[in-house]
Subunit: 239 residues, 2 copies
Amino acid sequence: MSRSTEPHRRVGRPPVTSRAQILTAARGLIDEVGWEKLTIRRLASEIGVGATTLYHHVRDKEELLFLLIYEYAEQIPHPELPSEPRERIITAAVALHDGLAAWPWAAEVLTTDGFIARLGDSFLWLVETILAGAVSAGCPPEQSVQIFRSIWYYTAGEIVVRAHTRHRKMNEQDPTHLNAYFGNADGPLRHPHLAAIADRWATLAGQDTFAQGLRAFVDGLLVQSLTKKTSGAPNSESN
Amino acid sequence: MSRSTEPHRRVGRPPVTSRAQILTAARGLIDEVGWEKLTIRRLASEIGVGATTLYHHVRDKEELLFLLIYEYAEQIPHPELPSEPRERIITAAVALHDGLAAWPWAAEVLTTDGFIARLGDSFLWLVETILAGAVSAGCPPEQSVQIFRSIWYYTAGEIVVRAHTRHRKMNEQDPTHLNAYFGNADGPLRHPHLAAIADRWATLAGQDTFAQGLRAFVDGLLVQSLTKKTSGAPNSESN
DNA sequence: CGAAATTTCGGAACGCGTTCTGAAATTAGC
DNA sequence: GCTAATTTCAGAACGCGTTCCGAAATTTCG
């Protein structure tokens, strides 16, 4: 209707802040004090408005965090894609992972309902790339979606688990750590392999094996999809 | 020290409740009103004690939920294991997944720090089985741990994402659903594969493909591990 | 100019998990 | 028996996210 032609000042009390200002202030506050200390009340007083005022510009805190990721994500440049479909999938999935893992609070929002669907063009392009890669590799569209979902579970799980893992220095000095649990009384008897590796567990768990696991996963998924094709008859398995 | 020989009544004010009673009451409350409505205050008043009293028997709410899972988990019977190592891994991982996914609040605790290490014998036995399966298949212990970690990321991710996905009936009636996001103006231009499958996305996302994806993952992980053996030289990849 | 409609603001309040602190209830020692 | 030591209890309070609702500030209409 009335667009730029008519600078119709809107009826009602004029807003004292805006979603843009809130997001900017939130970014600043996160840079200052860290995202754990970002609270609605603190953010509001930083802007100089009442706490409840923010709820007229943002549905809730979860949406606030999502919008922060959303805005940043749109600025991420698209990675160059290799020619081979399988490598394209991996490149896109790694970009998706790294893009999200870059923000420590991503884990808070990652698993919310419909997160993928709410992603912006930049991240949707990565989803599209994964789907396209699977299709290029010979998978039917339905299975391509399932391949993406599997990759997404793996990706989200890695980010969330690692985000919740305290990155204390892997000094073996901490007796309350893994060894204390794994190495209980009859551990070596009941769980020999676990006991054998218990003292190295913390070190191994600290390594970043996302990309390596992803490669294995994509290989397995493509092999599985291309082997049984679109066999309508279910396997001998439960699902 | 003084055990059953001496019924030494302990010094100090006698406790009015116990961790066992708290856990029992928590289970009852969850059965009655659902785990979302389980609050510290409500649980305390259910028992008939002050809210803060619970904190002398349980560190925090997270530990309370963890203990609930822990106790249940110990009662789970061990699944029968197939003979083939690969199938043993899958059987154990599915049991781990199903055992955790059985409690809707598992997602709240799943990703907390050191969750796996704090698991009880019953679940640790599943971890042990996965490790043993990988070793039996020919993987060195270190890579077996990485294989388990990859499986765990996938498993935890699946549970957490699905737990946070509202299971609304997949009626296409809801215009605020996926299509509304995926099918935006120039969606078909920018994301053709996404647009092509958008209307079927919700249905596909509702399917349980955990076991299928797991099979692909395990296959890929074993192939990867056995192919490059314990090559000390890193790949051409970043990691 | 004044009343009505409209839109936003923000203080009060709720329930939450959690911490602090002093009171209460018990045993041990004199 | 009285006091001290010990252990637990629980009310008060804090900060949090969030909701409710009346007040405030603007435009529109008569």
